[in-house]
């Protein structure tokens, strides 16, 4: 009796939860589909692994819950006394090997893709500072700092929070779409992480070293990210905003920025 009540309560809870989930604000659930081929690959790879895990979960826990329901003392089941079975044990060692082999092949492809920084169209050097980012466009000779622009009042709840609370900056990183842009990440002080989920980039900046990665944004748009490695008290307050624009718009922005710099 009690169990039936419990199951009913759980089902009601699940229904309630899924209703809330469907409403706005709860759609934050998965990797972003993103704006680069790498982000899309990641999304697909993750879904692939997730479904495999789900399958294993159903098989293993199907067996476990079957056992929990049918092999309990309270339904009069008597224990059998087997405690090994070499065939079964070999099978369930070999099958996982095969599964992770398949996963490994896919993951290796993804890994090689995200590390392939060859043939870039341009290079941007990113220098992390406590707590802002500096961007140097090596070819176009542009250089600027980018700081969070969210006012203190919003943080301390003296003013209503804006739409892009803590993920808005004074100067956005403007990049052209469909260009392979090599990013050189380093740091001025402690370790930081340049992380933009939509672009599937997450690279530590380490003082004294440059580390390279790349982006190739396919869709114009604004992509927001944050510092991923703890770097002191303003760790949460050094956002990244990348604005991807068409080639012409990019050229116009370069001219404008250069004029302003000189």
């Amino acid at each position: 009796m009690e169990q039936k009540k419990l199951v009913a309560a759980l089902m009601a809870g699940a229904a309630g939860l899924s209703a809330t989930v469907a409403s706005a604000g709860y759609d934050v659930l998965n990797l972003p589909l993103g704006a680069t081929a790498n982000a899309r690959n990641n999304y697909d790879l993750h879904m692939f692994v997730l479904w495999i895990c789900f399958g294993i979960f159903v098989v293993v826990f199907g067996a476990m819950f079957y056992s929990i329901l049918k092999h309990r003392k309270s339904v009069g089941h008597k224990a059998e006394h087997f405690h090994e079975n070499t065939t079964v044990e070999i099978v369930w060692t070999v099958i996982p090997f095969i599964i992770i082999g398949v996963m490994a092949v896919k993951a290796t492809g993804g890994l090689l893709a995200i590390r392939d920084t060859s043939n870039p169209d341009m290079t941007i050097k990113i220098t992390a500072h406590q707590w802002q980012w500096k961007y140097d466009y090596l070819q176009d000779g542009i250089s600027f700092y980018s700081k969070m622009s969210t006012p203190r009042d919003q943080i301390e709840a003296n003013a209503p929070k804006g739409e892009h609370y803590v993920v808005e900056v004074d100067k956005e990183v403007v990049v052209p779409v469909n260009k392979k842009i090599r990013l050189l990440v380093t740091s001025n002080d402690v370790i930081h992480g340049w992380y933009v989920p939509d672009l599937a980039v997450n690279q530590y900046g380490i003082p004294g070293f440059i580390k390279d990665t790349y982006i190739n944004v396919e869709k114009p748009g604004v992509y927001r990210g944050q510092c991923s490695q703890i770097c002191g008290k303003e760790h949460a307050y050094m956002p990244i905003v990348v604005r991807a624009v068409s080639d012409d718009e990019y050229k116009a922005w370069v001219e404008e920025t250069k004029a302003a710099q000189s």
Partner: protein, 182 residues
């Protein structure tokens, strides 16, 4: 088994296990030279001495773009830049480029530069014959200095690498370099 012999056995075991502890402690410290050696071999670490460059053939069949980058660390906010930001070179070719420091900090600075390369796979193929990073440098107030770097990319540089970055970061080591005694 008597209590005394058990005691002896236990003590023997204690000694063995303590030996493992000591060995592992040693191993922990040995990771430092080990890591440095690995970094040296893979070229990730900057060596403080000139690389010897074998007389190698210049591979004129390919061009590699070399980008030059300059960084300052921490409170050191002087002007430090490469005179050229990019250059196209052939693997196997010795090339000299210049970096410039303008000490506008208003004080005498002892600084140490550290080299780094991107991508990481190119590091071991980046040979420096002459570099200001081999020793720390002293800069007088308002001094402007141009410093050469002579380097070569080995012809063994993997074919898929067509852009290489040479980066220097200057660290202020004035405090450490203060007169050793009195």
């Amino acid at each position: 088994m008597s209590a005394a012999s058990l005691d002896r056995q236990n003590r023997a075991m204690l000694r063995k296990l303590l030996t493992i502890v000591v060995i592992m402690a040693g191993f922990g410290w040995a990771l430092v030279p080990l890591y440095r050696k690995i970094c040296e071999v893979t070229g990730i670490a900057q060596t403080r001495s000139a690389d010897s460059v074998a007389n190698s053939q210049i591979d004129t069949s390919r061009w590699v773009t070399v980008e030059f980058v300059a960084n300052n660390n921490g409170s050191l906010s002087w002007q430090f830049e490469p005179l050229k930001t990019t250059l196209r070179v052939h693997p196997g070719e010795l090339t000299q480029v210049m970096y410039r420091v303008v000490n506008n900090t208003g004080r005498k600075v002892v600084a140490q530069a550290r080299a780094s390369y991107g991508p990481v796979a190119a590091a071991q193929h980046f040979k420096k014959v002459e570099c200001f990073c081999f020793t720390s440098q002293t800069f007088e107030v308002a001094e402007t200095r141009q410093m050469p770097v002579t380097f070569m990319l080995t012809p063994e540089l993997p074919r898929d690498i067509d852009t290489v970055t040479l980066s220097y970061t200057f660290f202020d080591v004035t405090a450490q370099a203060a007169p050793p005694k009195g």
